[in-house]
Amino acid sequence: MTSTLEELDLDTTTRVAAEVPWQTVVWDDPVNLMTYVSYVFRSYFGFARDEAERLMLCVHTEGRAIVATGNREAMERHVQAMHGYGLQATVSRAEP
């Protein structure tokens, strides 16, 4: 239990930028249904409906959205999960 809690703490987005220089980016893909993308965001990240819809629309209109920020290992786990759902996702360094 302890190790899980510690791991979760590392995932939080509240840490200062210098310590969390990595991002999970989801890219637009004309194949995926908007309702599906939004449902994935809510189910996997646990976002509230409004936040999931906002990020889904950001992907749709801007072409991409940063859906998570944190350490590199955590971002790679998120990207792997997104690929499992069939979403186009990449790991990148957060812009300073």
Binding site: Y39, V79, Y85, T90
Partner: protein, 163 residues
């Protein structure tokens, strides 16, 4: 095809015509084959297993080495479950399938992978000799639209407010 809620409120219930079940079973088998054969130059596979680090070749290869097998396994399992659930229902009229939420996720991800492959295949055909492949192109397009309809209908049941 009828997509409805289940009487206990969790998950989704599908009622397919025998022909629809056969089609889905065949498509699921094809998705499984694409993942099993896994030819490196198959662009459809690139849609299912995207590059996590497009600007960093070494990191990209490292990520692929650690994640590919598990991603392929998960996607193949989802495809195989759909194939098995829809296989061999000849002469039964309709095929009824009950899915709990976790099983429904397997179907949703399978339908996504199927559509990614079909979109890639139709795109490839458009660039080539369209005359001789017109029938196949129409078939792929119809399957693509139909898979989207099934997925959309499932989402309306699983996630009613956003639909």
């Amino acid at each position: 095809m009828i997509v409805a809620g289940r009487s206990d409120g969790e998950g989704v219930r599908l009622v397919l015509e025998t022909e629809e079940a056969m089609l889905l079973s065949e498509l699921a088998d094809q998705v499984d084959s694409v993942l099993l054969l896994g030819e490196v130059d198959d662009p459809a596979l690139g849609r299912l297993l995207p590059n996590a680090y497009p600007e960093d070749h070494a990191a990209s290869q490292e990520f692929e080495r650690y994640t590919r097998d598990s991603l392929v396994d998960g996607k193949r399992q989802a495809a195989q479950r759909v194939r098995d659930a829809t296989a061999s229902h000849e002469g039964e009229g309709v095929v009824q399938i009950e899915l709990d939420e976790s099983e429904a996720w397997g179907w949703l991800t399978f339908l996504t992978d199927l559509r990614l492959i079909l979109a890639e295949r139709v795109g490839v055909i458009e660039e080539g000799d369209t005359e001789s492949d017109e029938t196949r192109d129409d078939y792929l397009r119809a399957a693509y639209e139909w898979a989207g309809f099934v997925q959309g209908s499932m989402l309306e049941v699983l996630d009613p407010i956003s639909s």
